[in-house]
């Protein structure tokens, strides 16, 4: 049971030293601990300001944690040797949300997909051509697209090109940062099925990030729900979706599933600002089960049964309603 990636008590805060006004310090990530097993998918669910993007930038080594460590296959990322560093770079790829800005408009599709191989410099021209053709075929792109420019493709096809680029080196871990949020509903399914098929075939590990819990549930084996820079609930997908324990997870799920509006609350509040952080639990302001304890003491993530962790004082006492069922066996949708 080897973890491809592991984060231990990672914090991240930005301090902008005020020239005239006082220095302000924004704690974007607070005590994040996460791990992803080989061949599985970790779902990261959260809205704007939850810190999910910063976490991915950290795993992609674009940001340094303020404290806490990041491990790649058990080894601390800071002490990696040169070769392992190289291996890390080839083994961790990313697919971004916006299909229109993740492809260089002035490069041909063939060059874009081949770029990871070209950068390593270990492959000759023939080898690259062959691998590009095979990966394009695997993601459902016609061969004659190689010479075309990205501007000639629809959102869905562009995302396939980005996926082909990410998979061409058969990486161990692919981070999917909201890959389908910008796509139309009909195209969204095609990309999700493609990602699932790829994982089943070459055991690629995914970190799937989205604000939409249903799409995350489709691919993920374990889910971490993030709110305001902390993990509020973590567990297997079944635990999170079917017997959820944190009020924010309930709010996320209920916001997404269809029911008449009468049950929704008009006053479910807003995400606090990083510059005047509320005391105690960040969600207290919006939580209908909030008690005084919630408003003063910040709840820590504690295990409430075989890996299902929650950061909420009265996790056991409140009963939360789940509206989602998981029937992976039943593929057909009956109207």
């Amino acid at each position: 049971m080897s973890n491809v990636i592991e984060l231990k008590n990672v914090d991240k805060s930005y301090t902008n030293s005020g020239f005239l006004k006082k220095t302000t310090c924004a704690h974007i990530l607070k005590n994040i601990s996460l791990q992803v097993e080989k061949g599985t998918t970790l779902g990261l669910v959260g809205e704007s300001g939850s810190g999910k993007t910063t976490t991915t930038r950290m795993i992609l080594r674009q940001e340094k944690p303020t404290n806490g460590e990041l491990f790649y296959e058990g080894k601390n990322v800071e002490e990696l040797t040169k070769e392992v560093e190289e291996e890390y770079r080839n083994n961790v790829q990313v697919v971004f949300q916006n299909p229109y800005s993740s492809l260089n408009p002035k490069m041909r599709v063939g060059e874009i997909i081949a770029e990871p191989l070209v950068i390593t410099g270990k492959y000759n021209k023939e080898e690259i051509k062959k691998r590009v053709r095979s990966i394009m075929e695997k993601v459902g792109l016609a061969q004659d697209y190689v010479e075309r420019f990205p501007s000639e493709f629809s959102g869905g096809q562009r995302q396939r090109i980005a996926i082909a680029r990410a998979l061409i080196q058969n990486p161990q871990l692919v981070i999917l940062d909201e890959p389908v949020s910008a796509l139309d509903v009909s195209v969204r399914g095609q990309i999700m099925n493609l990602l699932k098929r790829v994982q089943e075939k070459n055991k690629t590990t995914y970190i799937f990030i989205s604000h939409d819990i249903a799409t995350v549930g489709f691919l993920s084996d374990t889910i971490a729900v993030m709110y305001f820079g902390t993990i509020v609930e973590y567990g297997k997908t079944e635990d999170i979706l079917e017997n959820l324990r944190h009020p924010y997870t309930e709010m996320l799920i209920s916001s997404d599933s269809v029911r008449n509006l009468s049950e929704a609350e008009e006053e479910s509040g807003e995400i606090p600002s990083h510059y005047d952080e509320p005391k105690g639990c960040p969600f207290a302001g919006r939580c209908k089960y909030a008690t005084d304890e919630c408003r003063n003491v910040t709840p820590q993530l504690k295990d409430i049964g075989d890996g299902h962790k929650v950061a909420c004082h009265n996790a056991e006492s409140i009963t939360l309603k789940s509206v989602v069922k998981i029937n992976r066996r039943k593929p057909e949708y009956q109207i």
Binding site: G18, F19, L20, K21
Partner: protein, 305 residues
């Protein structure tokens, strides 16, 4: 407020760099002495002048002295007229200032009117005419237009005085021409900015709220597009200063420009050095005021830095 403080510091650093450029440019020929004295000067005269001007001491020390003097207002004395440089410049500066100010006002008025007209009636004949005129003004050297204007208005029609200062009439041609020259750049800039602004969502929402067209254009579209023109104004003010030197020479406008022209001919290098210093500082101050104006217009900038 922080934004302005940051801008002040930036302006100071820029002025500091300008003093270095000025100093190096003057000393670029290694030995300014022979450019100051006629070739026939004897070795003794040459020696004496070198000591007096302290040109034999190491460059850095000369620069030190130059800055110290400049700060204390002593820009050296003019060779030809033996008067302190600062005094000569101070005498002439108000004229140049007046010329530049009127030119800017004219430029702003022309730009706002024609820039918006061209943007509103995009791709129509009116738009093409305005663009053609602007392109013509941009393409033709300012002094040629000045010569034409002098012939036409001054000599043939005798409508406007051709040289010197005094009555406001004297100001019309030089400031007008200078204003038009700057306006040509700014008009095309404002037009493209405004076209983009007119296609933005808040203009669409403004119109769909039923706001009258004149309010949508004058209040919302113009203010947004004008603030982006201000942001690029530093290019424009450089052309303002160089333009004013040319215009002053043609119209014999008793400003700093014509002084610099004459002192180049008479090889009076402290005066030139002083004028260049003051003019570039003037340019920096001008673009600084534009930044300040921009900060007033656009709240996002005020708070951001």
């Amino acid at each position: 407020m922080r934004y302005l403080a940051k801008k002040i510091i930036e302006a100071l650093i820029t002025i500091f760099i300008v003093t270095i450029i000025v100093f190096l440019a003057i000393h670029s020929s290694g030995d300014p002495i022979n450019s100051l004295l006629p070739d026939s000067a004897t070795e003794a005269q040459r020696q004496e002048l070198t000591e007096k001007l302290g040109l034999d001491r190491p460059l850095v020390e000369q620069y030190g002295r130059f800055v110290k003097d400049a700060l204390s207002g002593d820009l050296g004395t003019s060779y030809t007229s033996k008067r302190p440089v600062l005094e000569m410049i101070a005498e002439k500066l108000p004229y140049t200032f007046e010329l530049a100010l009127v030119a800017i006002i004219i430029a702003f008025i022309v730009t706002i009117i024609f820039g918006s007209l061209a943007a509103i009636w995009k791709n129509t004949i009116l738009d093409r005419i305005i663009l053609a005129i602007a392109a013509f003004f941009k393409a033709s050297p300012i002094f040629f237009i000045a010569i034409l204007a002098v012939q036409l208005l001054g000599v043939k029609l005798r409508v406007l005085p051709v040289a010197g200062a005094g009555t406001p009439l004297h100001l019309v041609m030089p400031a007008g021409l200078l204003g038009l020259a700057i306006a040509s750049d700014m008009t095309t800039l404002l037009r493209s900015n405004m076209i983009a602004v007119l296609e933005s969502d808040f203009i669409k929402f403004g119109r769909l709220r039923g706001l009258p067209e004149y309010k949508v254009i004058l209040k919302h579209a113009l203010r947004n597009s004008f603030s982006s023109v201000l942001a690029l104004s530093s290019f424009i003010f450089a052309s303002l200063i160089s333009g004013s030197i040319v215009v002053e020479t043609i119209f014999a406008w008793p400003g700093v420009g014509i002084l610099s022209y004459n002192s180049v001919i008479s090889r009076d290098f402290p005066v030139v050095q002083g004028i260049v210093l003051i003019l570039s500082i003037l340019t920096i101050l001008l673009s600084f005021t534009m930044d300040a104006l921009l900060a007033m217009l656009d709240p996002r900038i005020r708070k951001s830095v």
